[in-house]
Symmetry: C2
Subunit: 199 residues, 2 copies
Amino acid sequence: MNIIYHTGSVTRKKRNELNNHKSVVIWLTGLSGSGKSTLAHLVEQRLQNIGCRTFVLDGDNVRHGLSSNLTFSEDDRKENIRRVGEVAKLMMEAGMIVITAFISPFEKDRNLVRQSVAKEDFIEIYCKASLKVCESRDVKGFYKLARSGKIKNYTGIDSPYEAPINPELEVDSGNESVEGSVTKIIDFLKHKGLLIDNV
Amino acid sequence: MNIIYHTGSVTRKKRNELNNHKSVVIWLTGLSGSGKSTLAHLVEQRLQNIGCRTFVLDGDNVRHGLSSNLTFSEDDRKENIRRVGEVAKLMMEAGMIVITAFISPFEKDRNLVRQSVAKEDFIEIYCKASLKVCESRDVKGFYKLARSGKIKNYTGIDSPYEAPINPELEVDSGNESVEGSVTKIIDFLKHKGLLIDNV
């Protein structure tokens, strides 16, 4: 057997042509309770309805698997975001529209991912909702635990959230309807020429 | 905005229906130089020709990204394989036929991945080639460096390779033609009912 390298014969371009849409990383950031995961899954559903290949990376499928050996210390949260970025890039290379839903509170960590791909490959979406709104929702009960000191380093309580300075898109997920935010995101993707029939 | 969870509305089953094939992890294992990466990319090309969604995970795209903070110590190699397994599972969940091409010398590490998915989701393929053949190829020049002691813990030289005891498939990549091995793998996938029009 002669070893001949054939790496890269199936390129991202060919995958995009097969899928009939471009691949991209859509990075949702915002406080816990700002609606990232809900929005991610609803956007995914809308994209699937029109035949796009998509995947959502969020705490549910990353923290129990790839990052199951990480804690919530500052270093480990940083490493978690790094890994999410690397997996998102692999999936984008594989032709998918990848939607990530992590608080990702630090500008520096988000920018490391942004800077590791081409400009048009990274769409940062700020899910804007005030701490007051998010804390009143407290879907997982974590804000209460953080306020009582039972959880440490909780973003918004005793750990900072650095809002994006210049995100590609901002949705007012603290006030507007879920459907409103979803439509805004889908319209943005259409406008960018990323969706079906626009390869 | 009411928070309503819609996680999981786009299921693996729906993705497989959209793709018109099943998703699976194809795990190639074998010595360095046994042809894993070459076979992986040729199998991928053949699958892409018939419209399958595929991706190859190998040292080229994992060691420089997701695992760039790992060394080649025993612990780090174990962690590398664990991460590859987790990413492969995410991609399988995303509907892809994922082909991994790593030496993955230890039965225990391969079995950890195997045991974390359903039986039919993991296809271990042993790329069988003797050390003599692989060393004579020495594509990367690493065997020579390992023999001279300039690289430590090199599989086959001063670190063991544990051949699979009961792999789903074995290809004689030390002797048969590349095309022969590729066809054997494709035929196996067809026989298993994984390919197009068999969802």
